[in-house]
């Protein structure tokens, strides 16, 4: 089963990390990514730019283009992993390694997956 692990945290908190702290978190993630990749369990991994760079298109009679994220929330959607795990239990265990002390990870089974052939 493919699972998406969606990362939510307060952008204000993550944004106030020092570069050293940010680098350390990324290095830790990278190490876990490598382990999962070696086991053939890692799909695409994405870290998003801050929500200030976001543009939202709302459907309607004419699509409306708005600045900013889709919703104002206390914790923002920061990025995601795609994991190939044999059970939810395994996905939870794998995702735990990506916790960095604050925020939350949402595990959602993937209904449809299109790896695409574009950017590597």
């Amino acid at each position: 089963m493919l699972y998406a692990v969606l990362c939510y945290d307060s952008e204000a908190i993550v944004g106030s990390w020092t570069k050293q702290k940010d680098d350390a978190v990324m290095a830790e993630h990278l190490a876990h990514n490598r382990k999962l990749a070696a086991a053939g369990k890692l799909g695409p991994v994405v870290r998003l730019m801050p929500t200030t760079t976001a543009t939202t298109i709302r459907s309607g009679k004419e699509p409306v283009v708005l600045d900013g994220p889709f919703a104002e929330t206390k914790e923002q959607f920061l990025g995601f992993w795609v994991l190939d795990c044999s059970s939810l239990e395994e996905a939870i265990e794998a995702a735990k390694s990506f916790l960095h002390g604050s925020g939350a990870l949402e595990i959602r089974p993937i209904a449809y997956f299109e790896p695409g052939g574009g950017p590597k």
Binding site: G15, S16, T51, T52, V65, D67
Partner: protein, 424 residues
């Protein structure tokens, strides 16, 4: 992350929102800061035991507000309590408070807090110092180090700035559209000044200077988060990111300035550039150009060029023409002359800057560029005079050293010419 590190990060992130809300309650900066300090102390005791609250800012506001109200009551024999309407909302329901704080009120609260710091009556340095102290929460010692003054002197400056603000009576009503736009403009200008303070001066502790730039970027992010469709705020953040991305390549190992053309572009911060480019693109879609957006677009042209030779000087020249109409200034024309020199050569560029001399007679960069152009034209004696003026006007040792390199090179060339003449 350990409890303490998490609390530190959460408190730091919540600070602008919390202080801004407390300022609205108490209408006094010192009281708001004191209440926030107390709330932070209580967070240190309570959060490790009870777990972090869902909304740290709302928690700090609630606890700080209750502490502040108690303090006011305790002193009420000396000072009468402020009107109930001034200390709004006395009930203690955290849920409903959190809900209220989520509303757009936060936006005007934080804008007011930032605006208070850049009150037009305060000199620029005091505006920056106050914002660093109150909004960013830097210690007086840290700020003093950044400005190369003693802690006592900085403490005095900040106290004086606060007193002037107290006397100025900033209105606490939600601002109208025109007033909000004015406040935004003033706050953006203060953030830009703060960034330049960190960017331009290479004297003092380099680490502290970088900290000022990072703080300016943080404040610009905060402002854009509050006003996500303001294209000039997007432009400001983009500009700061694109300029700061080059910081690792701006000084060499000996601390000497490396010019844009000679910088090792591999050392530029690619993530910062990518974010800056994304913001410029978003801002320009609005088709409401402003000075920050155009400057960001110029920085974007430099950032997008793989090598110095790939720079689109034609586009940069066009952007400077737009900037000259939006914000006419001799410094803008001076910068445009660099683009003109790259496209048409030193002669038209020199013709362009010569009329600016009277207005830029104390500007280091004017004489640096003038000397450079004269040097390219082979007018060595005049170049030497311009370089000497530049050195006299340099603010920092690396600036002076950079010009001295030119002079050394100039002297070498002259020596060679003399040798050639002698052997001819």
């Amino acid at each position: 992350m350990t409890d303490l590190a998490w609390i530190d990060a959460a408190v730091r992130a919540a600070r602008p929102r919390a202080i801004a809300a407390l300022l609205r309650y108490f209408r006094d900066l010192d009281t708001a800061e004191e209440a926030f300090q107390e709330a932070c102390l209580r967070a240190l005791r309570s959060w490790p035991r009870n777990g972090p609250p869902r909304d740290p800012a709302a928690w700090l506001v609630l606890v700080g507000r209750n502490f502040g109200v108690d303090e006011i009551r305790r002193h009420k024999k000396q000072d009468p309590l402020p009107d109930e309407e001034h200390v709004s909302d006395l009930e203690d329901a955290e849920a409903s408070l959190a809900e209220r704080l989520d509303a757009s009120q936060y936006r005007d609260d934080i804008l007011r807090l930032l605006f208070v710091c850049c009150h037009p009556e305060l000199p620029a340095v005091q505006q920056i110092a106050l914002a660093l102290r109150v909004v960013s929460g830097l210690s007086v010692k840290e700020i003093a180090r950044a400005f190369l003054v003693s802690e006592a002197a900085m403490d005095q400056r900040i106290t004086r700035a606060k007193r002037r603000i107290g006397e100025a009576e900033i209105p606490f009503e939600a601002p109208g559209a025109v007033e909000r736009a004015e406040r935004l403009g003033a706050v953006a200008a203060m953030i830009y000044l703060l960034f330049n303070e960190g960017y331009s001066a290479t004297g003092g502790d380099a680490h502290v200077r970088v900290g000022l730039c990072e703080e300016a970027i943080r404040l610009a992010r905060l402002l854009l988060g509050l006003f996500p469709s303001e294209s000039e705020v997007m432009g400001l953040l983009a500009l700061l990111l694109l300029q700061h991305a080059r910081a690792p390549a701006r000084l060499d190992a000996t601390g000497a300035i490396v010019l844009l053309d000679d910088q090792d572009r591999g050392r530029w911060d690619r993530a910062m550039i990518a974010e800056g480019l994304a913001l410029v693109e978003k801002a320009l879609r609005h088709k409401t150009p402003g000075a920050y957006q155009i400057q960001a677009a110029i920085a974007a042209e430099h950032a997008a060029a793989a090598t110095a030779r790939d720079t689109s000087w034609g586009k940069i020249d066009q952007l400077y023409v737009v900037l000259e109409t939006l914000q006419p200034s001799p410094v803008v024309t001076l910068n445009r002359a660099v683009a003109v020199c790259k496209i048409q050569g030193p002669e038209p560029a020199l013709a362009m800057i010569e009329p600016l001399e009277a207005r830029l007679s104390t500007y280091f960069h004017f004489f640096g560029l003038k000397g450079g152009l004269l040097l390219q034209l082979g007018r060595h004696d005049e170049a030497r005079i311009a370089f000497d003026r530049a050195i006299a006007l340099a603010h920092t040792a690396p600036e002076a050293a950079h010009i001295r390199q030119h002079i050394d090179r100039l002297l070498e060339t002259c020596a060679e010419v003399a040798r050639d003449d002698a052997s001819a």
